[in-house]
């Protein structure tokens, strides 16, 4: 018998979500959406719990989690940075903006900084093509971003640090 440790409230949260969908295997994606929106990410232990609740194999749960880019197993940063890499943003220089974020934060796409402050992800078209290239930090949208503005955007979220803005 192997034991999987999870906080009481996490177990309750996940069980409630599964119950909301009648613990049906076919509702896995809805359950994962619900769980990620509550917990922020889908750690292995939570996937084990979901598998148990929906009476399915955890390998299948993991297979689904890793198939869809929306699901993540790492917690996002406090300030998740999303760079739109849709075509409209691409032709207007999104790639250079992304590179600059990666360089400044010394961070790869899909990763979170050690202090948990920032994470970088790419998304495909937020539909604000008129503002291309577009960057989102949390809910806030930055339009027509140039690589030169990257340092300034980051500094807005760096509490306690003197602003490097020019």
């Amino acid at each position: 018998m192997s034991k999987i440790k999870l906080a009481e409230h996490v177990i309750e949260t996940v069980q409630a979500i599964c119950a909301q969908y009648n613990n049906e295997e076919g509702e896995l994606i809805n359950v994962l959406h619900g769980t990620q929106s509550k917990l922020g990410y889908l750690p292995a232990e939570v996937q084990e719990l979901i598998a148990k609740e929906l009476d399915m194999s955890v390998a299948k749960v993991y297979g689904v989690v890793t198939f869809y880019s929306f699901f993540t197993m790492t917690p996002m940063g406090k300030h998740p940075i999303s760079i739109c890499t849709g075509t409209a943003c691409y032709v207007r220089g999104a790639e250079q903006v992304l590179e600059e974020f990666k360089r400044q934060l010394k961070l790869e796409v899909g990763k979170t900084t050690d202090d948990g402050k920032f994470s970088i992800s790419c998304l495909r078209c937020v539909g604000a093509c008129g503002l291309a290239p577009v960057v989102m930090v949390g809910e806030k949208v930055y339009g027509r971003v140039s690589p030169q503005q990257v340092r300034k955007i980051i500094s807005e979220y760096q509490d306690g640090c003197p602003s490097h803005a020019e």
Binding site: E27, L28, V64, T87, A88, C125, G130
Partner: protein, 597 residues
């Protein structure tokens, strides 16, 4: 809208919302109240106007005044000047970039003049969260006609006669699809709306759902009646929170007044709609993959047949239509198949919505009759190329499509014409490129997208596209050979010929079309080690022109990797081994002393 003398329509699409349109609306409301005008002027948050380039947009009715790039702090002025004093706020009016003239009335703007709005008929006109506004514009009249006066067969015949073809990319005749699902015998059938818009740079489905959700619900109910289904499912991207919210509101409102649910309009017809969420997989736009995803599985496509019309969601007959396709349905019922078939070309009827983006003046969402030429779309509606640059290519069909050139500009757009010139309609992304865009890099961009989105099930898409990408990467690094160009073509054709689903069967198109149309540019990369557009970093060098450099040290200070050295007031020098080719020095130099070679 009869009670009010004036209406202020504020665009509440995702693009404008990102530019604080919500705040604009609040400020306008506050200002109207402050002026005691709340009984005569109504502020309405609508769906997307389409003209995203100039957002946020505010339109005043009845005079059709079109304010662009409005900021929340402009609200008081608009109310004080336009509403109270009847004077237009000049600095917020649209200025035509080519003619440099100010245009106040949206009907006179080049962007709107050539458009014919069927699918987008209500976007930007009604409050999407108010079912009464939809009903006041013939909403649910088509459903009433179908349930009251038409047999399911007649509905299907009407769809067939209209010539409507699927707007999601394939262009399959919608009426025929409905017929197949109707022909399948089963107690349970499903209507699925494919709202998993994943094509980067296309956002028409989202705009329709945000701006006119009831048109889709109505169409699904009509489809349900025609094929014999009582359940509709909308498979929508989780990344579309606004569209999801508006759909939820719309479904609730429709249920409340009995337009969804049991015994609709007292006819005994039952139909209800549920939402299902995508989770970030482009391949789920393919209908079998979409169905697997709705079943809680990995979104891997399966071989057809069996088609969903025979064996779909939970193995039951399922009709899958895309959002834009459905948005056309109520209008076809209301105005008749003949009317719809009178618009467009011989084999492509009606209109098509395009998301116009890239190096173009008027970025936005447009709807034109089939048969409109690319030139009309790009230059008349799109306002031509940004910053006076030269047009180089237009990419249609997203990752499945191809890049077309100057010589294709007079091609009338329809399903078959685009295919015959090596591109495709796709879902309607239309990206314009100028002389600064390297076509090898563009092809690589699309391939990278396909690589990211391939499900990995079949060999050609999983490994073949990876190899295509690697060859392209090699070429942009200046390490390609002429044999690589042949290999690209050979492998591209095999991938098209052998892949399991539409994703793989079309993924080489961006490469094959650029090879066809921009072969010289590929040759320049592999034979001369040169990127004519100056975009492939590995193929260019930044150099300081000694004669022009004043030694101001600006570039020295700005260089992020300390690749620039030199004494104050004497010419500087770039160490090529350190240079990361970010271009900062080039942009910052005030003396044009840095050249790209």
């Amino acid at each position: 809208m009869a009670d009010y003398k004036m209406h202020m329509l504020v665009c509440g699409g995702t693009g404008c919302r990102a530019s604080e349109s919500k705040k604009i609306r609040q400020n306008l409301d506050a200002s109207i109240q402050a002026n005691g005008l709340e009984d005569s002027v109504q502020v309405v948050e609508t769906g997307c106007f389409g003209f995203c380039e100039k957002g946020p947009v505010v339109k005043i009715l009845p005079d059709n005044t079109f304010y662009v790039q409005v900021r929340p702090e402009d609200a008081d002025q608009i109310v004080a000047e336009h509403i109270v004093k009847g004077r237009q706020v000049k600095h917020l009016l649209y200025e035509d970039p080519t003619k440099q003239e100010v245009i106040a009335d949206s009907k006179d703007m080049g962007f709107y003049k050539k458009q014919v709005r069927i699918a987008l008929r209500n976007c930007g006109f009604i409050d999407p969260e108010n079912i009464d506004e939809y009903i006041s514009r013939d909403g649910y009249a088509a459903l009433a006609t179908c349930l009251g006066d038409m047999t399911p067969e007649q509905v299907i015949d009407t769809m067939k006669e209209s010539g409507l073809r699927g707007r999601g990319g394939g262009g399959f005749p919608t009426g025929l699809k409905w017929q197949f699902t109707r022909n399948s015998v089963s107690e349970q059938k499903y209507v699925v709306c494919n709202a998993d818009e994943g094509d980067p740079g296309a956002f028409m489905d989202r705009s329709i759902l945000e701006g006119d959700p009831h048109s889709v619900l109505e169409a699904m109910a009509i489809c349900g009646y025609a094929i014999g289904a009582d359940t509709g499912l909308i498979y929508i991207r989780a990344e579309y929170p606004l569209a999801i919210d508006r759909l939820k509101v719309a479904i609730k409102q429709a249920r409340e007044i009995g337009l969804l649910g049991n015994d609709i309009m007292g006819t005994g017809f039952n139909f209800d709609v549920e939402l299902r969420y995508g989770a970030g997989a482009f391949v789920c736009g393919e209908e079998t993959a979409l169905i697997h995803s709705m079943e809680g599985l990995r979104g891997e496509p399966t071989f057809k047949p069996p088609f969903p019309a025979v064996e779909g969601y939970l193995k039951k007959p399922t009709n899958v239509n895309n959002v834009e396709t459905l948005a056309n349905v109520p209008v076809i019922i209301n105005k008749g198949a003949e009317w719809f078939a009178s618009i467009g070309t011989d084999k492509s009827k009606g209109t098509k919505v395009f998301a116009l983006a890239g190096k173009i003046n008027n970025v936005g969402l447009i709807e034109v009759p089939m048969g409109t030429t690319l030139r009309e779309v790009i230059f008349d509606i799109g306002g031509g190329i940004k910053d006076g640059k030269k047009f180089k290519a237009v990419q249609t069909g997203g990752p499945s499509g191809g890049c077309l050139t100057e010589e294709h500009l007079d091609t009338p757009i329809d399903f078959d014409n685009l295919l015959s010139v090596g591109s495709m309609m796709g879902s309607g992304g239309m990206i314009v490129m100028d002389e600064d865009d390297c076509m090898v890099s563009v092809a690589k961009f699309y391939l990278e997208f396909t690589l990211d989105e391939s499900c990995g099930k079949c060999t050609p898409c999983r490994i073949g596209n990876k190899r295509l990408y690697e060859i392209l990467d090699k070429i942009t690094q200046g390490k390609g050979t002429k044999e690589d160009l042949d290999r690209l073509r050979m492998l591209g054709n095999v991938i098209k010929d052998t892949s399991l689903c539409g994703l793989g069967q079309t993924s080489p198109n961006p490469i094959l079309s650029t090879l066809d149309n921009f072969y010289d540019e590929y040759l320049a990369h592999v034979e001369d080690g040169r990127c004519p557009a100056g975009q492939c970093k590995a193929l260019l060098q930044y150099k300081i022109i000694d004669d022009k450099c004043t030694g101001c040290t600006l570039c020295f200070r700005q260089c992020p990797v300390a690749a620039i050295s030199g004494e104050r007031k004497s010419p500087h020098f770039i160490d090529q081994s350190l240079c990361i080719k970010c271009g900062v020095c080039y942009e910052k130099c005030k003396f044009d002393a840095i050249e790209i070679v």
